[in-house]
Subunit: 255 residues, 2 copies
């Protein structure tokens, strides 16, 4: 994918990721990398155990710029300054009955708001997630619908999933699905596909595969195979080349 | 979410994650953890640089059982044995235009097939992804629509995103309980499709279609055609029947 082919996705620039009381600096680096791969760049750190840190930088690989620009805060309120909406991420249901949605639904809501105003994604500690006091600062609780028998996503993995959903929602929102299929090869016309079927039938009669008295049934099964794909123009030529040589083999020494 | 509230998600048990030539054992451990959080448990390792390994086990945390049950293979073909479909993950566009879709579309297709037969998700090395030879073994190429300016997801992060999408698709699928798809014909296993390719290559050499000095290029184009069709078991038999008669035609009067 070239950068030219992708439209500017403005809501993504309105997101900030807030990591609360992160214990392991390596997780901050991995989270920064995860964010940047999805086009989200604003990182806020509330009372990190250790930051800046060489291990964080090492794990961020090409996203060291996010660490350099990270804003270290002493309270969640400080990190949320200027935001219109805050979404708390949780691996489990909570007693406090916040509005709870899955990450996909949350991303869709978040992008809608981020079209106009800043939105925060708030992640708790590696061990215990968000405290109830922290959750109280959030308007929505989002949950990754993980395996109930083992729902322990690594912090950076949770950041990756949420940021991925934000990017997918932003792309959908922009109604500009990423242009991953660049040039599309020319499809064969239906009449040239029919020409191929005729050629194939003649060839199969020639080699004795079809019963000349009743060739239809097998031809229907063969049509069913090729009908499932849209053959390209060049592919029809390729297949007909094979058929021609099936009837009149070429000597190898012609090469 | 309690286990009672979650329906039995059978397609997830039909997925295997195949990691090719992984350099860092820690990534194997992190990938195992990512898989298990999404309810996917079958891990195949093709020529890992180092395995088993203490660092892998440490990073797998509660998913050490996946490492214990991981199957180490010496070739991708071996890892794909028994699968009906293989999806290659790629961070970038490739020259050979496989059918290329984003991870969400890929997950939806994958779950549809995994309702009945095993499906593989194939990941390349940390540095360079899948080789073209490895991609040739896949029917579909899936891409995470990452930031074009920095698309370098960590291997385990890519596994996390893909497995998350599979789980989301499976949950969605399970919601639509009415079984409106009547009988689905059994797909051919990947090894039987490979058997067909070998048979086809021999036949094309026999009739002089392929240059014996360089058969690969045309075979890649032909693989691209059949990769788009998900061949059924009976269809592989039918096509191989044609190949047999191409080499040794049957007299018409045998009917």
């Amino acid at each position: 994918m070239t950068s030219q082919s992708v439209p500017k996705i403005s809501p993504l620039s309105n997101f900030r990721v807030v990591l609360c009381q992160t214990s392991h600096p390596g997780n901050i680096g991995s989270a920064a990398r995860a964010m940047k791969t999805m086009g989200i760049t604003q990182l806020y750190l509330v009372n990190p155990a250790q930051f800046p840190d060489a291990h964080a930088t090492a794990l961020s690989t090409g996203a060291a710029d996010l660490l350099e620009n990270a804003i270290v805060c002493t309270s969640l309120d400080e990190a949320l300054t200027g935001c219109a909406y805050a979404i708390g991420l949780s691996a489990r249901k909570r007693q406090l009955s916040h509005e709870l949605v899955n990450t996909r639904v949350a991303a869709s809501k978040a992008v809608e708001i981020a079209n106009n105003q800043p939105v925060a994604l708030v992640f708790g500690t590696e061990m215990s997630g968000l405290s109830n006091a922290e959750l109280d600062r959030c308007q929505l609780l989002a949950m990754i619908p993980a395996n109930p028998e083992y729902s322990s996503l690594n912090l950076a993995a949770a950041v990756q999933v949420m940021c991925y959903e934000l990017r997918m929602a932003a792309l959908e929102n922009a109604d500009l699905t990423p242009d991953i299929t660049d040039k599309i090869n020319e499809l064969a016309t239906l009449e040239s596909v029919e020409g191929f079927y005729t050629h194939l039938e003649e060839t199969l009669l020639h080699i004795g595969y079809l019963n000349p008295a009743a060739p239809k049934k097998l031809m229907e099964r063969i049509r069913r195979i090729f009908a499932r794909i849209r053959l390209e123009k060049e592919e029809v030529n390729l297949l007909r080349g094979i058929l021609t040589l099936t009837v009149t083999p070429r000597k190898h020494d012609k090469y």
